[in-house]
């Protein structure tokens, strides 16, 4: 599904990723953990195609195709989804209108039929209900006046509507209470499928009790420095990064 090879990325002339390699096969859930400033969000923005994140070396292949030259909207239409660590507020754009624009834009880019208003409303009502997002929230401007947890749930709602093949969740669990975290995990687990993969970025092993990963990677200093199964998360929780990464070095 996703193959990242020897990726070097600089942001505003500063080298942040320094030889990151990672392969996520179809149907698998991979978790990325790592200290603050390690380059986790940089990785996720680079995968989504943000301007100013310059790939200076290495490659990103998604379903066998080179992603580096593609603009964000085309990557999205091909099935890459990023749940933002800090979802944006956009005053003046209603959540509902935004969701409809996104779903229909992707359908258009893929050459599929757009949903009509009735079909769309039905789809969104059902999906929002599962995530405990009220109709009143959908009418508000995108994320404006949403609590931190509501913003994160709104990201998961977008994921559920857009049904990506690769979902990158950048600290979607931060700021969530236990019930909300369970809702989010249920949302993710409901989407798990043999042709869908997840890259879950988190600081907490707790999320991984609900979304059980196939592999865990530790990102530090712009590279993956250690990979393992889910016991790695427990080990990190007990010993901290210094001890665990120190052992590798």
């Amino acid at each position: 599904m996703l193959e990242i090879n020897d990726l070097h990325v600089s942001v505003h002339g500063k080298d942040i990723l320094k030889g990151l390699s990672l392969t996520v096969p179809p149907g698998e859930v991979h978790a990325i953990m790592g200290p603050n400033g390690a380059g986790k969000s940089t990785t996720s923005y680079t995968l989504a195609g943000r301007d100013g994140y310059d790939v200076t070396q290495g490659s990103i292949r998604f379903k066998g195709e080179d992603m580096v030259p593609l603009p964000p909207e085309e990557r999205a239409a091909k099935g890459i989804f990023l749940a933002f660590q800090y979802p944006l507020e956009i005053p003046g754009v209603s959540t509902l209108t935004f969701l409809k624009s996104a779903v229909n834009a992707q359908a258009r880019l893929r050459g599929e039929k757009e949903l009509d208003a009735v079909q769309f409303l039905k789809l969104i009502r059902e999906t929002a209900k599962g995530l405990n997002i009220s109709e009143e929230m959908l009418k508000r401007s995108l994320n404006v006046g949403f609590s931190g947890g509501e913003k994160k749930r709104n990201e998961v709602l977008q994921m559920a509507l857009l049904k990506p093949s690769l979902a990158i969740l950048d600290e979607t669990d931060s700021g969530l209470d236990i019930d909300a975290m369970k809702l989010v995990a249920e949302g993710v687990n409901a989407l798990r499928a043999p042709d869908r993969s997840f890259l879950v970025i988190t600081h907490y092993q707790r999320l991984l009790d609900y979304i059980v990963p196939d592999h865990i990677h530790i990102l530090a200093g712009g590279r993956i420095v250690k990979s393992g199964d889910k016991s790695l998360a427990l080990q990190l929780e007990e010993q901290g990064y210094d001890a665990v990464i120190g052992k590798v070095a």
């Binding site: 943000r50 909207e73 944006l88 624009s101 834009a105 977008q158 857009l162």
Partner: protein, 425 residues
Amino acid sequence: MGDAISTGSLLETATGRNTGAADWAEALRDRSRAEFAALGLPNRRLEAWRYSDLARALSETVRETGSLPTCHDMPGAYSAIFENGILDETQSSFREAGALPLRQILADPASPFVGHIGGVNPQDDHPLLSLNTALMEEGIVLRVPAGTTLEQPLHLRFDWQADTIGGRHLRVLILLEEGAKATLVETHGGSPSFATIVTEVRLAKNSELTHVRLERLGSSGRQSAMTLGEIGASARYRAFYLSEGGHFSRHEALLKLAGEEAQADIEGASLATGTRHCDNTTIITHAVPHTTSQQSFRGVLSGRARGAYQGCIRVAPDAQGTDARQMSRALLLSHRAEAATKPELEIFADDVKCAHGATIGELDADALFFLRARGIPEAEALSILIEAFFSESLAMIENDHLRGLATDAVQDWLSSHASEVSSVE
């Protein structure tokens, strides 16, 4: 379309005409012609015209790029259709609203409108106002009697689709008597080689005027328009101005709050691409105590467009309890677009609430990325963000129909200019 025009050539057209006007009108014109001859076409050495050098714009020969736009439609309204500056009565229905052609008024020696034309919030040393008065022939006059509501909006449609040699100078007078209510919609489309349009509005006690201006000039259009207003006690002037700029496009709102509890609310939107120019100038005078004004102007400029907003608030010495608010925001979509804003406060009273703020910025790159990361193509994402930028302005329009009209006007612009806007330079 535009040929070169100078003070001299304008004065030449103004002399030796026999228009069948009554003596009072001729006297008014003569006086104004002398004023204009003394002042001449304004250029940027005059502070009030710093961002809008009309003399220079008129000295240039300009060619239309792209197809010539037409006016926004306004079905179901009383209409006055002006083709290239000439009133076309056969297509118009303004008489049903009780309105009359200006020609008829100017020819009437005993017209009840004597003293009103050229008498609403008069300005000293305003060359274009003098020019317009000296050369006015065509136009519309409407009086709405006390206590009545004009059922449909009066739509003045100014279409400029053919070459007009020299300039055309139109005059509109709207009088609302006590407690009267009306909606005035002006649409401007195409490319006048040079037009001045003066709209005078006098609002008596407790009356209410909603004024919508939708300007869609071509790239070679040159127009300088003025709205002069006197707003009486507890009367209300509410306006939405939309402009897409032109080779030269300026609108001045010169309003005097002349009675206690008078109120003026203006929402302005300008959207300009290419090398267009777009100037919004306001002078709001709080002449008596306890009056309120609110104005917010938003502009989106791309390519090498130039936008200007000059907003002056004057509070007279005894105008205590004045509440005046002013806000301007410009969004630059390209590094070569320019926005100028100049707020001026001349306050001579002490008990005054006065707020003003101006920002000039770029589009939020994070928001743009967010939308694109959800699969929304760049041009569409830009449209969404620009519409959001104007949404607060549009939401201020209370009348559903007019809000729809204004929203459509913004959306029309976005869909027809999406490609120009997305090529950020």
